[in-house]
């Protein structure tokens, strides 16, 4: 019975081996390894052994690496007929496995067949789709190592792989692994020791997945929607802002393909976040950019943001649909089905508009010219003679101003204030959050975490309030539209559907009222007198974290 690989070795031509003129160093190295084993074992190739022959592997993850960030690696091992999915920890420990037949990995995988792997990963990746990260085509040869009696006492596997991601291809070094036969551990150890002594052999230090990424010049988790632009406190403000905006532009561009192919809803979400952050940065930090450009791109990014709103709103409705039906008391889930079908049709229509705009010359011009403009700012910033604020000064001034506005606006909100005042405050809070995130590397991490934690609580409350408001209004508008369709003899809307939608709207009203009731407490926690020292500590001297003032309980 085979046990898992005892030891893996990578064989590469020894450094300084200039004499080797062979066109196929992999074969030369394999021959060297076999020669090293020959005095102790008879090596017999085992054609047709399980696991031998051509192998096609594809590693899958979501675009934002949700599996890898959770310490998991998902591999699709394709054979001629079907294949199997293997879920393991990053250290190689297997977690779950399931066969898959007729499941093309190029297709996003919301419809992954039922099985232990799907059970394990659905919650983790939802609502994102699985995408191929890197694939490998390899040739595996399996050999028996025989003792003097002709008994198999160990197995040797040689694997040569070509790896591909996007349009890049690389060869991995020859990998040899020794597997033990039960009851013959000493022979497997001996074989491993003989291989280790072959010139150019070294123990394999990384999995094939990581080796494949490395060979292609990539590394795991190389996408995040964060704003980790490399900025420092002393850097000119204009340079820091240009770096931030370039980082946001990268994120935006990385998501365009996924949006256009409609792979999953989160490409559009990340795209929108990048647009909003860009707009906030232009608005709050635009003073360090050329004024006419700041004005022009503020308009252009507003256009981009508005363009994406209808599709995203419908995505939000559809993503929460299952939860919505669960909360129905009077109506049956089936009553809402025409509503869902209507949302799907609407979404398809809005998506076509969005896709057309993203394929338009206007969008291409925005991204290209914006990049050129930002690169010019970044490169000119360092050369400017005129005194301009440093990144730290800019951070302090703008963050303090944003905070003061929130304190004033929020402080003026009473239980009788109009919903718009909360909506407006929500936007200011988002802006402050973005500023804090932009300049996060300049802040003291402890003070930063405290302030952001409280701000997040306040934002959640305001977000809940506003989302409920928007969704209620939308349900009203959608009900009108559905009714109009029905009257025109086109839809299948019934009274039951409209009543069920009314129930959904009523439930939203309850949640909205709860959020409204919670506002005063959350606002006081973030911006009340007790919280002020936390803000002061944060703004004391970005780049040079100061001692935090003692907090008033």
């Amino acid at each position: 019975m085979l046990t898992p690989g005892l030891r893996d070795y990578v064989l590469e031509p020894p450094v300084g081996d200039h004499e080797s003129t062979s066109k196929d160093p992999g074969t030369d190295l394999l021959l060297a390894a076999l020669a090293a084993l020959a005095p102790s074992f008879t090596v017999v190739a085992e054609r047709g052994a399980p696991g031998s022959g051509a192998r096609q592997l594809t590693w899958l993850d979501t675009f934002d690496w949700r599996l890898y960030r959770a310490g998991l690696v998902l591999e699709l091992d394709q054979a001629r007929r079907g294949g199997r999915l293997l879920l393991s920890q990053t250290d190689g420990t297997p977690r779950a496995e399931q066969p898959v037949t007729g499941w093309p990995p190029r297709r996003p995988a919301q419809d992954l067949p039922a099985g232990p792997v799907r059970d394990r990963i659905t919650v983790l990746i939802s609502p994102r789709a699985l995408l191929p990260v890197v694939s490998a085509v390899s040739e595996v040869s399996v050999m028996r190592l025989l003792n003097a009696d002709g008994k198999t006492v160990a197995w040797l596997t040689a694997e040569r792989a070509t790896v591909t991601a996007a349009d890049t291809t690389a060869e991995l070094p020859l990998c040899l692994s020794v597997a033990e036969v039960r009851g013959y551990p000493a022979q497997a150890r001996k074989a491993a020791a003989l291989l280790a002594a072959v010139p150019g052999a070294s123990p394999a230090s990384q999995s094939m997945f990581i080796a494949a990424l490395t060979a292609l010049g990539r590394h795991p988790a190389d996408y995040t929607n964060g704003v980790d632009a490399e900025i420092t406190a002393e850097m000119p403000g204009s340079v820091a802002v240009a770096r931030l905006l370039l980082r946001l532009l990268d994120t935006l561009e990385l998501n365009v393909d996924g949006v256009l192919r409609d792979i999953d809803t989160e490409f559009l979400h990340d795209f929108r976040v990048a647009v909003r952050r860009t707009r906030s940065a232009i608005k709050l930090l635009g003073e360090v950019l050329p004024a006419d450009e700041a004005n022009h791109y503020a308009q252009e990014f507003k256009w981009l943001g508005d363009l994406t709103t209808p599709t995203r709103d419908l995505d939000v409705h559809l993503l929460g649909f299952a939860a919505t039906t669960e909360h129905l008391l009077a109506a049956a889930p089936a009553d809402l089905e025409p509503f869902r079908a209507f949302l799907v049709r609407r979404r398809a229509r809005e998506f076509r508009r969005l896709a057309a705009a993203l394929r338009s010359p206007r969008f291409g011009v925005i991204t290209d010219d914006w990049r050129k403009a930002l690169l010019a700012v970044r490169d000119a910033g360092a050369r400017k003679k005129r005194r301009q604020p440093t990144a730290a000064e800019l951070a302090t001034r703008t963050t303090a101003r944003a905070f003061r506005r929130i304190a004033a606006q929020g402080g003026a909100i009473t239980p009788d204030s109009a919903p718009e005042s909360l909506h407006d405050l929500r936007k200011r809070c988002k802006e402050l959050r973005y500023l804090l995130e932009f300049f996060a590397p300049l802040h003291d991490p402890v003070a930063y975490r405290k302030v952001v934690g409280d701000l997040k609580q306040l934002q959640d409350c305001l977000g809940e309030f506003q989302d409920c408001q928007v969704q209620r209004e939308e349900i009203g508008a959608l009900a009108d539209a559905m009714l109009a369709e029905a009257l025109a003899g086109r839809g299948t809307t019934t009274a039951a559907t409209l009543l069920a939608m009314g129930e959904v709207a009523a439930r939203l009203a309850v949640s909205q009222a709860e959020a409204r009731a919670d506002f005063a407490r959350r606002f006081a926690r973030f911006a009340g007198p007790a919280a002020r020292p936390r803000i002061s500590a944060l703004l004391a001297e970005p780049g040079h974290p100061a001692e935090a003032e003692p907090e008033t309980p």
Partner: protein
């Protein structure tokens, strides 16, 4: 875990070839299979090219100072492991019984921890009626009895069924099959047909006398693996399929 034992009081009737080939076929079905070569001659171990040696000998296994698990060797075939013979097994009777106390369920007890690891276990027993064979009969779910078609073999089967019938508690099922059948001999034909008609425990599948089966000791591999299309392999497959379908 199902335990099968090939047993006959007589030697040279095809116990080991049956055990080796049936164990191989079980493994080839994807069942995790262990073959324990209990015969100190070590013929089954030899056929799998495994040295007939167990550290500490039979004594260590019976006394529990060494586990069966630790003595198991992987064969050259997927899903098939072997617990080798050891020359000290010849004294196993002495280890199992003292003048005061006879242990008849020791082997069953030793095999129990392997239940999680194996689906099927085959015990290849030495000929004779002894304390070892009594242990084997208590441990086994199915006794596979090779019979050479002679008048005496009918008596052997009767003796064995009577012996097992006297067991208290669980009794193994007895399945007999004809072995080393020479279709050219009229007597062989008569006896096989007669017994098949009279005795329900005799399988329809029989193993013919074939030189290819004798050559197993030269090839050192189950004939079902080395010559899967041969008449011999077909006969063992038919036998295994009949035994297996009984158990389903």
């Amino acid at each position: 875990m199902k335990i099968y034992a090939t047993y006959n009081i007589k030697g040279g009737v095809g116990k080991t070839t049956a055990a080796v080939n049936l164990a191989y076929l079980s493994a080839a079905d994807g069942q995790r299979t262990l073959l324990w070569d209990l015969d100190p001659q070590g013929a089954a171990s030899f056929l799998f090219r495994i040295k007939p040696r167990v550290k500490g000998g039979g004594k260590a296994l019976i006394r529990g100072t060494k586990t069966l698990e630790g003595a198991i060797k992987g064969t050259d075939f997927d899903n098939l492991d072997l617990l080798p013979a050891d020359f000290t097994y010849r004294n196993m009777d002495l280890l199992l019984g003292t003048s005061q106390r006879k242990q008849t369920r020791k082997l069953a007890q030793l095999l129990r921890p392997l239940a999680a690891e194996y689906d099927n276990v085959f015990l290849d027993c030495p000929p004779s009626i002894s304390l070892v064979s009594e242990n084997v009969m208590h441990a086994a779910d199915v006794l596979l009895v090779p019979l050479i078609p002679t008048t005496l073999s009918v008596r052997t089967l009767d003796q064995l069924t009577d012996f097992v019938a006297d067991f208290e508690g669980a009794r193994p099922e007895v399945r007999a099959f004809f072995s080393m059948v020479d279709r050219r001999k009229k007597l062989h034909q008569e006896i096989t047909q007669d017994l098949l008609a009279k005795r329900a425990e005799v399988t329809a599948a029989a193993i013919p006398a074939l030189s290819l089966i004798e050559r197993m000791s030269v090839e050192r591999a189950p004939v079902t693996a080395s010559a899967p299309r041969s008449q011999a392999a077909r006969a063992f497959r038919a036998l295994w399929s009949e035994i297996r379908s009984d158990q389903e």
